[in-house]
């Protein structure tokens, strides 16, 4: 079986003698040539030979404290910059430790290249020390992965990895490299350096031809459908951000004044303070975003994938809507909901073509008047805004209040990286995202512990920006050790722990659906002592317990720019995330606040309006 992608004769430059290079040097040089400026990693036995040439490379290596941190940092870096994140770890336990970030990146389509060391080729399959079947283990959580069996393959494999990670639907790609392939003491690890051309890379991947341009006839059909719609909604997902399509999205929305919802993965793709922005739909989406989709007659799904957290009970989701579905991944079309007009393509290119077609067909003048729809929608916005009750004096802080203060006191282009749970939902709900790539979170996989390392990666990629990690106490305990990395490397991220002493989201479900039988969710507010812990890790740390301390402490934290800062906010553990569509229920059963279910309880009063719109 032929496993070599190496061209028969390595090309030389300018007729000079080919340069002899070993596998380890070649790997680092290949990463440099692919534009890598940072590697997040941790060395070990099998990857040792690759760590030696790092000393001579301009690439910045960030030494993490746990390999999971390296993976999430690479993700945070990629989310913030749009460039692929690079993580490098050794074999065995290091490779298994980075499986979670790989899966996370796979679910959220994050471009990432992961290098793992492996035992020598002669030891493969012998249960050697620190051997794990990394390619086997990571096969279903990577876009592609490969075992590199010859040093001379390294330049091509690295080029392929970056090409695969960054084109089509982005995702993580892993290269597993046995030690002997990069070992300078192994004569077989030396080869004549070459750098494959783009054409050679494409030719080496005959099964990989992503479609980026939408089908013109389908786009025309979509444009006609949008112009004819009476209750259209642009249902915007993470694909719009991946395609760098925020600007043209805005053009489309404004051209026809169509309301926009941005999913958890797309927060910031359309400005929250724009009059057409309805905010986040889904299980914890706001009433207007959820209900606009329910009553819509045309969903224009742009880089979104009808995730179960958006649709609720599928049979009851947006029952009257036709669907235009644009996605670069053909497998997303028809996966959950059949599209009347499916379009395979890059969101930016397709939306550009859509805008052009809409203009050709007469633009706003030719569109159905959707004024009535927009006023219905604004009616909902006025009637059902996001709300919460302020705390009484002496009570614990409301997490929503903390987030509003953090939002108002931080620079407008602050990058927010969250963990997973209640604090994530509140951050998404209460922050005002005005720019793309300012919101980083773990959407698909829901990885607790994502926030701190992702924030560090984002700050490394965007050093000029303020980066706030919004974390829960449960999440923080999973990956806090990376603050040691941040302190050592002088990466001044800021962490807001919303400490409610519980695994809050699980507590919320136990309260609502398990008759307040709280099982294994209590974490204690005082153990660990977050302030001492943060200080021990080289951070500046504050504890905030009363509302009047909130703003001054945030101001202090925002002024610190030479080391990481942690603020522990003691928040009310009884506070729940609303609105909420109970799991398994249809989106019409949205609960806007404790016990308030507008579409059911208020049905007699609202019947006219609701039915008038639904038909």
């Amino acid at each position: 079986m032929d496993t070599s992608d190496t061209p028969a004769k390595p090309p030389t430059t300018d007729g000079a003698a080919p340069e002899r290079i070993n596998g380890g040097q070649a790997l680092i040089r290949a990463l440099e040539l692919e534009g890598t400026d940072t590697i997040f990693g941790l060395p070990g036995g099998a990857i040792l030979p690759v760590y030696d040439p790092i000393l001579d490379s301009p690439i910045r290596h960030i030494l993490v404290r746990h390999e999971q941190g390296a993976g999430h940092m690479a993700e945070g870096y990629a989310h913030a910059t749009g460039r692929p994140g690079v993580a490098m770890v050794t074999s065995g336990p290091a490779a298994t430790n980075i499986v979670t970030p790989l899966c996370d990146a796979y679910m959220d389509s994050v471009p990432m290249v992961c290098i793992t060391g492996q035992v020598g080729t002669k030891s493969l399959g012998t249960d050697a020390f620190q051997e794990a079947d990394t390619v086997g283990i990571t096969r279903s959580v990577t876009k592609h992965n490969e075992l590199v069996t010859a040093a001379a393959d390294i330049p091509m494999k690295v080029r392929q990895a970056f090409h695969l990670a960054t084109t089509g639907r982005p995702g993580p790609v892993l290269l597993d490299i046995p030690k002997d392939v990069v070992d300078p003491n192994n004569p077989d690890a030396w080869f004549d350096w070459y750098w494959p051309t783009d054409d050679e890379v494409r030719a080496s991947l005959p099964g990989y031809r992503p479609t980026t341009t939408g089908h013109p006839r389908k786009i025309r059909e979509a444009a006609e459908m949008i112009l004819a719609a009476e209750r259209p909604v642009l249902y915007v997902g993470g694909g719009v951000l991946k395609a760098r399509a925020a600007e043209v999205l805005r053009e489309l929305a404004e051209l026809l004044q169509i309301p926009v919802v941005t999913t958890l993965m797309a927060r910031g793709a359309f400005p929250d303070d724009h009059p057409l922005c309805l905010g986040m739909p889904g299980m914890h989406g706001n009433y207007t975003a959820v209900t606009a989709m329910q009553r819509s007659d045309l969903l224009v799904a742009l880089g979104s994938r009808f995730d179960d957290r958006v649709t609720g009970k599928l049979d009851e989701f947006s029952p009257d809507a036709k669907v235009i579905h644009v996605d670069i991944d053909p497998a997303e079309l028809g996966k959950v909901r059949n599209a009347n007009v499916p379009i395979v393509g890059d969101c930016r290119q397709v939306i550009e073509a859509l805008v052009a077609d809409v203009r050709k067909l007469g633009g706003a003048e030719a569109a159905t008047d959707i004024g009535a729809w927009r006023s219905t929608v604004s009616g909902w916005q006025e009637k059902f805004p996001l709300t919460y009750e302020q705390s009484e004096p002496g009570e614990l802080l409301k997490p929503q209040f903390v987030l509003e203060q953090l939002r108002d006191l931080s620079p407008e282009d602050t990058i927010v990286a969250s963990g997973v749970g209640q604090h994530q939902m509140w951050a998404s709900q209460f922050w005002t995202f005005r720019h793309p790539y300012t919101w980083i979170n773990s959407g698909g996989l829901g990885t607790m512990g994502f926030s701190v390392p992702a924030a560090i990666g984002a700050k490394v990629g965007m050093p000029g920006r303020t980066v706030w990690s919004v974390d829960g106490d449960g999440c923080f305990q999973m990956t806090a050790q990376e603050l040691v990395t941040a302190a050592t490397e002088r990466i001044p991220v800021k962490v807001a722990i919303l400490n409610n002493a519980y695994l809050g989201m699980v507590r919320q479900w136990q309260e609502m659906f398990y008759e307040e039988r709280y099982s294994e969710v209590y974490l204690s507010p005082d153990l660990p002592d977050y302030v001492k812990w943060a200080e021990a890790m080289g951070c500046v740390a504050f504890r905030v317990e009363s509302p009047e301390e909130v703003a001054p402490t945030i101001r202090k934290a925002n002024e610190i720019d030479d080391r990481p800062v942690v603020i522990e906010f003691r928040t009310d553990s009884a506070e729940k995330v609303f609105p909420m569509v109970p799991s398994g229920k249809g989106n019409d059963e949205i609960v806007v606040s404790q016990g308030v279910v507008p579409n059911v309880a208020a049905a007699p009063h609202d019947a006219d309006q609701a039915e008038g719109v639904a038909q």
Binding site: M1, R139, S140, K143, L205, P206, G207, Y208, A331, G334
Partner: protein, 166 residues
Amino acid sequence: MIDEVHHHVLSVLVEDKSGVLARVAGLFARRGYNIESLAVAPTSDPGLSRITITVNVDTAPLEQMVKQLNKLVNVLKITELDPRHSVERELMLVTVQADGAGRREVIELTQVFNGRILDVGHHAVTIALDARPDRLDTFETLLTPYGVTSLQRTGRVALPKIDNGA
């Protein structure tokens, strides 16, 4: 035996590289689908192999499977072979008890089915039969009363019928 109503035959052209079969099989396993039969071999094109997969899946999930298969970097082309428009063959080796009167009957059955006897013992024979998979099913049923000692089938291989423009 294969459920002829729900069974689908996929012919998957892949790069001949290590791990490709695991990737393809993994997509089925992940969704809990069982592969009924599987045949893999190189094609006339160097560097390419063809995997013929028979699965028992409804049409809608199969469409999704095909799309997911297409996303695999090493997969070049997938064709679903409609049994009406394809030729299918499968090879079976079977060792069957053949004593006394039964011996003659087994040999006659083999002749009727155009099988070949590969090995002969005092009390048993080993037969090779290549035919359409449903013919193998029939042959297997007919041999069972004589006492099948061991049996191995290859899984089906298939190609589209040649279009003669008729």
